[in-house]
Symmetry: C2
Subunit: 164 residues, 2 copies
DNA sequence: GTTGGTGCAAAGGCTTTGCAGGTGT
DNA sequence: ACACCTGCAAAGCCTTTGCACCAAC
């Protein structure tokens, strides 16, 4: 079940507004323009739950500006990823999910029921050490989920076939 | 009667022939038929390199029987996966690769250059313990690769911009 | 003869791209 | 004014599916 990702605590002035403006400043500095689609996407990103697909985000943007096209969302997510504002993760088959670059957790995804659990970054420390020591390889535990089987599905699948 | 893909027509039986026949016995036991495509796919699987895509395998089969269609390869790989003979792994974006179920290694894939390194199963022991202890989750380190950056690409990307 | 497998073509799901016209600076 | 960005439609990539014929048992 979900936990992390609730809206930030309410303050006098919305803290996401500051973050949005800060990102838009980077966009401008890079020669980019501040468009409605871009601003809306950012506000949706900073406000909502984590683990949303491009289509989820598009729907939320389109609730306010119905003409914003899915391809625009993809293009903007791409740019935001280059700026380090968001990262996308592949949680098994199906569409990628996007979340804020500040999130450092990984994901455990059940191959049987599709449920997802967040895994703190330090779950991956030993694997990271092994990869670095043996191959000089720096793992990125956020990009692809770790697949496997959740507790509930292990119980169900466990006894192979008992006959009918 | 065709000799195509049958047990080696001339000469002593090879070790893969035995394995092929053993798999085909399981297929028959399950009510399946032994077809040319199926036999050829198996011989290609047992003979060749690991980490081949469905299309790679199709090409190799088609070198002998040009009419075998890619969709037949997919269907047969699917069935072989249910029998535990093969597993497929997603090595980042791009097509899945298939290898023998007896392979237990995982994969480290460079996000920058796409190079792939095999990681022994025990690299994942600590992660597996964490996942089990904290979430009762049984990881399957073979299904999805661990992404990251290889040594060479870290050197190139590492120093941001050193000028000319 | 029955069942299951196959070739082919078409669709499916997710994402990217080409283009012509609109928009921010 | 200029480059950038956008909406739209179409393509692309990998994989699955529907269907009629054929082959294995």
């Amino acid at each position: 079940v979900t936990s992390l990702g609730g809206p930030t605590a309410v303050g006098a002035a919305s803290p996401s507004d500051e973050r949005i403006e800060s990102v838009l400043a980077s966009v401008r500095a890079r020669g980019g323009r501040v468009t409605t689609a871009r601003r809306l996407l950012l506000s949706v990103l900073f406000r909502g739950d984590t683990h949303r697909t491009a289509e989820d985000l598009a729907s939320e943007v389109q609730a306010i500006a119905p003409d914003v096209h899915l391809s625009t969302i993809y293009r903007n997510l791409d740019e935001l990823e280059q700026l380090g504002v968001v990262v996308h993760a592949h949680l098994g088959h199906g569409p990628a999910t996007y979340h804020l670059g500040s999130d450092t957790h990984g994901h455990l995804v059940c191959e049987t029921c599709g449920s997802m659990t967040e895994a703190p970054a330090d779950f991956f420390d030993a694997l990271a050490s092994n990869a670095r020591a043996h191959h000089g390889f720096a793992i990125d535990h956020r990009h692809f989920a770790v697949l496997g089987q959740c507790q509930a599905c292990q119980r169900v699948d466990g006894p192979p076939i008992t006959g009918a």
